[in-house]
């Protein structure tokens, strides 16, 4: 097979998987079968395209192939018997005047992220059915054995058909709430990819890409939802720093020490534009504030010259909108930057007894850093050891070990 065909299939997998699966599911009303036929269509593309050439419209070719395959299978009685109760049939969709686009992919996303499914199941289904990751890849991303993940996905698909979760874009009066549920799934996929919880790589770029593709798709399909613009803006602004987060030898580089010339200026301007759009005439939302924080960092010439009062102010708002110990921790760190390490340490104090942060590695790491700046070497060393004990990501471990050796050296010297 030529490289050209392989690349075309890979590209189609990324850009067309969701459409092929969603359209097939809409036609045959069986999510499980639609998944199987979509998979088959991509296998067939790998076998057929080298012989007949890459079709002009790969998406249409794949959809037709998946649909024909589904019809073949449905003709066989065994499959008819096997089939789970069908997906709840389509109902008339609101027209474009409601600000919605009639799109099978939207139906698929809202079905996968339905609140009647567990949070774990929503993420797993979205990655498998909408993003087209294999069950093995989804399992690896969330650190569970493949059979466990396979069982989770199967159970979720059964719940959709048995409970009658509709294959539909929600009614306008529920849209805001349901969009939020979708965005929480997309955000979790992004953050999981942005700092992989375990293993040799700091990032799982495939997950980051999946989350960015999802956010882009949602933005195209629902351009008037400010929370979607905010989330896509946030992703672009954070991901713009990608090239500078890990050094050539695989070491973690803190925001303070990143080479800002490596940041992707185009992504930053697009992110800022989306954020501006999200904030136009509306009270800020959680993702908009997070994007604003990323934008302040993106536009600062250096760590020292960051607008720390602005950052603290944004965290003050974020703590109100989304009360959360991790946000409180970030706010304390920002106060430390604005008012000095002693003030930062004082802000961290009440968080030490917060049960949700008891095993949170970034709390120990933040404390260690303030103690290091205050030259309280022994306490700093202790905090770095604590952070190390809580960290499984090898790139982060290497960074913390380096800092630990530094403060041990200073305490001896």
């Amino acid at each position: 097979m030529s490289d050209e065909v392989a690349a075309a299939v890979a590209e189609a997998h990324r850009s067309e998987w969701a459409r092929v699966l969603a359209t097939t599911a809409q036609l045959i009303r069986d999510l499980d079968l639609a998944e199987e036929c979509t998979q088959d269509a991509f296998v067939q593309a790998l076998q057929t395209w080298p012989k007949v050439g890459i079709p002009d419209r790969p998406g249409a070719w794949l959809t037709t192939t998946a649909r024909n395959r589904a019809r073949d299978l449905l003709r066989r009685e065994t499959v008819m018997r096997r089939a789970l109760p069908m997906l709840v049939p389509r109902e008339p969709m609101p027209g474009p005047e409601d600000g919605l686009i009639d799109d099978d992919r939207l139906r698929l996303i809202f079905t996968c992220c339905h609140p009647a499914l567990s949070a774990d199941a929503r993420v797993a289904l979205t990655l498998r059915l909408v993003c087209g990751l294999s069950t093995a890849e989804v399992a690896r991303a969330f650190l569970v054995p493949e059979p466990t993940m396979a069982a989770r996905i199967t159970r979720a698909k059964k719940k959709i058909s048995l409970a009658g979760i509709p294959y539909r874009v929600p009614a306008p009066e529920h849209l805001t709430e349901r969009v939020r549920a979708v965005l929480d799934v997309v955000h979790l996929i992004f953050t999981t990819g942005h700092t992989a919880p375990i293993g040799a790589d700091l990032m799982r770029q495939d997950l980051v890409d999946s989350a960015m593709d999802l956010a882009r798709l949602l933005h195209v399909l629902m351009p008037r939802e400010p929370e979607i613009s905010a989330l896509l803006g946030l992703f672009l602004l954070v991901d713009a720093r990608r090239a500078s987060r890990v050094s050539a030898d695989g070491q973690l580089v803190l925001l303070a020490e990143q080479d800002r010339s490596l940041w992707d200026g185009q992504q930053i301007s697009e992110g800022v534009a989306l954020l501006t759009e999200a904030l136009r005439g509306r009270p800020p939302t959680r993702y908009a504030i997070e994007a604003a924080l990323a934008a302040v960092h993106a536009e600062a010439p250096s760590w020292q010259d960051t607008d720390w009062p602005e950052i603290v102010g944004l965290y003050d708002v974020l703590v109100q909108l989304w009360p959360n110990p991790v946000v409180a921790l970030n706010r304390a760190v920002a106060i430390g930057m604005r008012d000095g390490p002693r003030a930062g340490l004082l802000e961290l104090e009440p968080l030490l007894s917060e049960p949700a942060l008891a095993t949170y590695r970034y709390l120990s790491a933040a404390r260690a850093d303030f103690l290091r700046q205050l030259q309280r070497w022994q306490q700093a060393a202790e905090a770095y050891r604590e952070a190390l004990a809580l960290t499984d990501n090898e790139v982060e471990r290497a960074f913390l070990s380096g800092r630990l050796n530094e403060v041990i050296g200073s305490s001896l010297g």
């Binding site: 339905h114 048995l162 009658g164 979760i165 509709p166």
Partner: protein, 120 residues
Amino acid sequence: MAKYLVLIYGDAKEWDAMTPEQWEAHSAAHQAFSLAAGPRILGGEELASAAVAATTVRRTADSDRVTTTDGTFLETKEALGGFYMLEASDLDEVLDLTRLLPEVHASHSAVEIRPVADHG
């Protein structure tokens, strides 16, 4: 169309402690639910006190004997207080309707939605 059993669970002590005014508001909410659901309600009842009136029939663990005992099968603080059997086109329709039930909004109670198995 599919059938859904809506089970209403709550703390019976809280229900017992309700004032006449609270009961009136509670009943009005159930009436609003019934009005909204219309013919989609296939049946529904309030159950007599689980603590006082429930009886469980089962085989004992160590013999083949079937025994009758006082009380509910599940020993939980929350009791089944009532139910509706609904017919709806999908889960979202049921979710929309159940939001009208007062038990959804009280802190000690909730409703559980169970689709009826369809072997057709």
